[in-house]
């Protein structure tokens, strides 16, 4: 078991119209990628709340992929532009707080880019695998995980 390679847990937050459809195309085209990435479908990248990203790390994600429509291609015309601004700020905040932004991969994957989706996923798995498990979060004292001894105070 010890020699086994670390398999990171990666959550992908994707928009319904481009990347989700792109990932469907990856499937339809039978292109293979790692099974450790699991997709959560949002209507638009504009819907992705930064709090959800925080929750993902807190609940054991080692990496995160956020992906949506290319600029100008948003189904809702501008959701991805708004999201992009938020990420600029949020990345800055995370970085300043010592949260590893290397573990978050942002990408634009269109409905036609089945290959790109597989690449994004596989590259992110590689990158996060190299970074190792996100220990910082796992070390945080959460009451649900309190050890038997008295940690309270």
């Amino acid at each position: 078991m010890e020699n086994q390679e670390f398999e990171p847990k990666i959550v992908a937050f994707v928009c319904n119209w481009c990347t989700y459809a792109g990932a469907d195309l990856t499937g339809t085209s039978r292109i293979k990628y790692g099974a450790n990435v699991k997709i959560i479908r949002f209507p638009c990248t504009g819907r992705i709340d930064f709090m959800l990203l925080m929750k993902a790390f807190e609940n054991g994600a080692d990496g995160i992929i956020i992906s949506g429509c290319h600029p100008n291609d948003c189904h809702y015309s501008t959701g991805n532009f708004h999201a992009r601004r938020r990420w600029v700020v949020f990345r800055n905040l995370l970085n300043f707080s010592g949260i590893d932004t290397e573990r978050i991969q942002f990408s634009w994957v269109s409905a036609a880019e089945g290959f790109k989706w597989a690449d994004v996923v596989n590259n992110t798995i590689e990158k996060v695998r190299a970074l190792g498990p996100y220990e910082n979060y796992k070390k945080i004292n959460v009451p649900t995980l309190f050890a038997k001894e008295d940690n309270n105070e």
Partner: protein, 267 residues
């Protein structure tokens, strides 16, 4: 300075130009405290000196203060910026609050957004050198060092929410931290609950923080919280050209976008 202020407030109150005045007063052991003056006689308690740097803009939306009638306020630069930001978020209206402020040793009074904007445009709004130094120091650290630094700070937090209460921009009557459907932020003041709270607050203040520093000044545990929001001021200014609290009709940096916004981090 105090005398000029006292006379002005006395006059405003006796002219019924305002019903209540929020100003600086002598506190315990040399501290400055906010005082609320309703009569010309009480105006004697007002002071103004170099220690009076506090912004009282967070009182502008307090129901008991609003209920007192027309508000006048001794406004520092930060208080004026808070007013502009509040105006841009439709929380106060033009000519609603009479602000008194010092412009080159001259006590000016205005409730007019355009006048206040003109004054603000003539002022320097950079964060203080020692604050910038601290931010630079943190940014020079490794990610892990920064994580350790902040975890140590977050550990101190007792979640008294003084930061929120003192912040002029934290006026939501039902803060997201209290939302429980779902429970975004753990209520508990443990490491995770504290970190979530401070990150969320910083994010909600991004592009809105007017760098008054109240959050850090009031923290009973002396957590340098202001650095979290201050650190975002420069990138938001550089990337999006936006500074909070300068215009009463400004567009919020995160409510808008440019097609050419930075995206070098996106594959």
């Amino acid at each position: 300075m105090s005398d000029i202020l006292i006379n002005k407030v006395k006059q405003l109150l006796s002219d019924k130009a305002i019903d209540i005045f929020i100003g600086h007063g002598e506190g315990t052991g040399g501290r400055i405290r906010p005082i609320f003056v309703r009569t010309p006689e009480d105006a004697e308690q007002l002071i103004f000196n170099e220690n009076c740097k506090q912004s009282w803009a967070n009182y502008l939306l307090k129901p008991e203060v609003k209920a007192a009638g027309k508000i006048g306020m001794m406004a520092t630069k930060h208080a004026l910026r808070a007013m502009m930001q509040l105006a841009s978020e439709f929380q106060i209206k033009d000519n609603e609050v009479l602000a008194l402020y010092w412009d080159n040793n001259e006590l000016k009074s205005s409730a007019d957004f355009k006048e206040i904007e003109a004054y603000l445009a003539s002022q320097n709004h950079d964060i203080l050198p020692h604050e910038q130094e601290m931010i630079d120091k943190l940014n020079a650290m490794t990610t892990q060092e920064r994580w350790d630094f902040w975890q140590k700070e977050y550990e101190k937090c007792i979640k008294c929410y003084a930061c929120r209460s003192a912040c002029p921009m934290c006026y939501c009557h039902h803060c997201a931290a209290e939302g429980n459907q779902p429970q975004w932020i753990p209520v508990a003041s443990h490491q995770l609950g504290n970190m979530d709270w401070h990150l969320m607050r910083a994010m909600h203040l991004s592009g809105r923080c007017i760098n008054c520093g109240a959050c850090a000044k009031v923290c009973p545990m002396h957590i340098p919280l202001n650095l979290l929001t201050y650190n975002l001021i420069t990138p938001i200014q550089q990337e999006f050209g936006a500074i909070a609290g300068m215009k009463h009709d400004a567009t919020y940096a995160l409510s808008t976008f440019k097609t050419e916004d930075k995206e070098n981090f996106i594959l």
